[in-house]
Symmetry: C2
Subunit: 272 residues, 2 copies
Amino acid sequence: MTVCWIDGAPADALPVKDRGLAYGDGLFETLLVKAGQPLLFERHLQRLALGGRRLALNLDLALIERECRTFAVQMSEGVMKLIVTRGDGVRGYAPAVDAQPRRILQSSPLPLYPQENAEQGVRLFPCKTRLAEQPLLAGLKHLNRLEQVIARSEWSDAEHAEGLMRDTSGRVVEGVYSNLFMVKGGVLLTPDLTRCGVAGVMRGELLTLAEQANMPARALDLHVSDLQKADEVFVCNSIYGIWPVRACEQLNWPVGPVTRKLQNLVRGLLDI
Amino acid sequence: MTVCWIDGAPADALPVKDRGLAYGDGLFETLLVKAGQPLLFERHLQRLALGGRRLALNLDLALIERECRTFAVQMSEGVMKLIVTRGDGVRGYAPAVDAQPRRILQSSPLPLYPQENAEQGVRLFPCKTRLAEQPLLAGLKHLNRLEQVIARSEWSDAEHAEGLMRDTSGRVVEGVYSNLFMVKGGVLLTPDLTRCGVAGVMRGELLTLAEQANMPARALDLHVSDLQKADEVFVCNSIYGIWPVRACEQLNWPVGPVTRKLQNLVRGLLDI
């Protein structure tokens, strides 16, 4: 059953004058909840705080944290979606200086992804939709997501579990709802996200885990030619963890040892 | 007094699961209403229809037109804002094939812009915020408007009535809530909007008026160097009509004859 709170109280309707609707003026986080706990919660809160600073949202992070923890206890298990908007507005783009952000929490059941996604790996759909380059918004999980909506509507078959997105300059950036990694010569590589893309919580966690395991890792500009030469490729997010990528169009990759090693580490975090 | 309808009935709140909130998955139009009539209504509907096709929204345009006309009669005078979203969604970017778009109509009073904006002209604030280049969304008045929110928060003084926005490659594109024109050697020039920007209803109307008046007009890539050499500069939208631009930073322009001629034509359209 889906539960929803607005500003800490059960509700399922939002004032029409909310700027989240008018302009996508807000942020969101999608968190995995197990045993009444939001997982990787500190990282989600850190990204939210960064977004709040970049968009000059007056967020009460302590209140948000408390509310999320209480909500997670009540839902016990599933996916918790947190939306924060700039709150109500009047006509026009200028945000009111005293705008009161609105907090929206929604629960949904754990998604039922096929077990073979994590075991045998997935095939990526090569999206034609490109990501525009906007450094001011890059990395944030904001509410302006039309590019993802358009990209995700490019395929509907079950054969492709995710899509591969490039930016308008042709660089490989991410999946539609995942981050991308590749392994080359034992080095973990992931696209730089300073021009576009969402800096995923699982991506951040994997870079930290790699550092702790003395595994060299770098975020840098990557192209399809790098994918062609990669030894291993995988996608990740904070809900499903890691899926090896076995194919994208005519390219194929084996499920390799680095991917399996990181999958095992991540299972320890998510399968509590 | 503000009035709001959702799907044709008075309401002021919408379901939290609306994809307009979740992803900015929708479009809007802002129309001037005088004597119970939405002005330049055909052009607004045409842009909405184009956006609906580009986003694959299943819009009932005849119903939207009827509803807007009825709403305009009731409000009599003011600004009518129409939002259409993809409607309710479940978790995930993929739009349901049978998604039922939601229609939201809101009225607000006529804005009180200083009379001298139209008479003596305005000063533009030079926005640092650049527009990302995304041909898939260019021209549309969609709900992903964080760039405008950020740009509009760059200034709060009353000295600047509008901002000048460039794209990430440096081309001059538009105002934050207006389109931009310049006049050079008797030719009307306006930025090409195939990479970014909103193809304003008043911009379209002015290009048609120019054609009817045998005034040469072109949409093309323009740079700050073109602004420097311009004989006249003005901004426009479908609410206030035309404001001459007299300055932007150290640049200055006179209020010229082409601007005055077009202002007179537009007054005939808007001051009914």
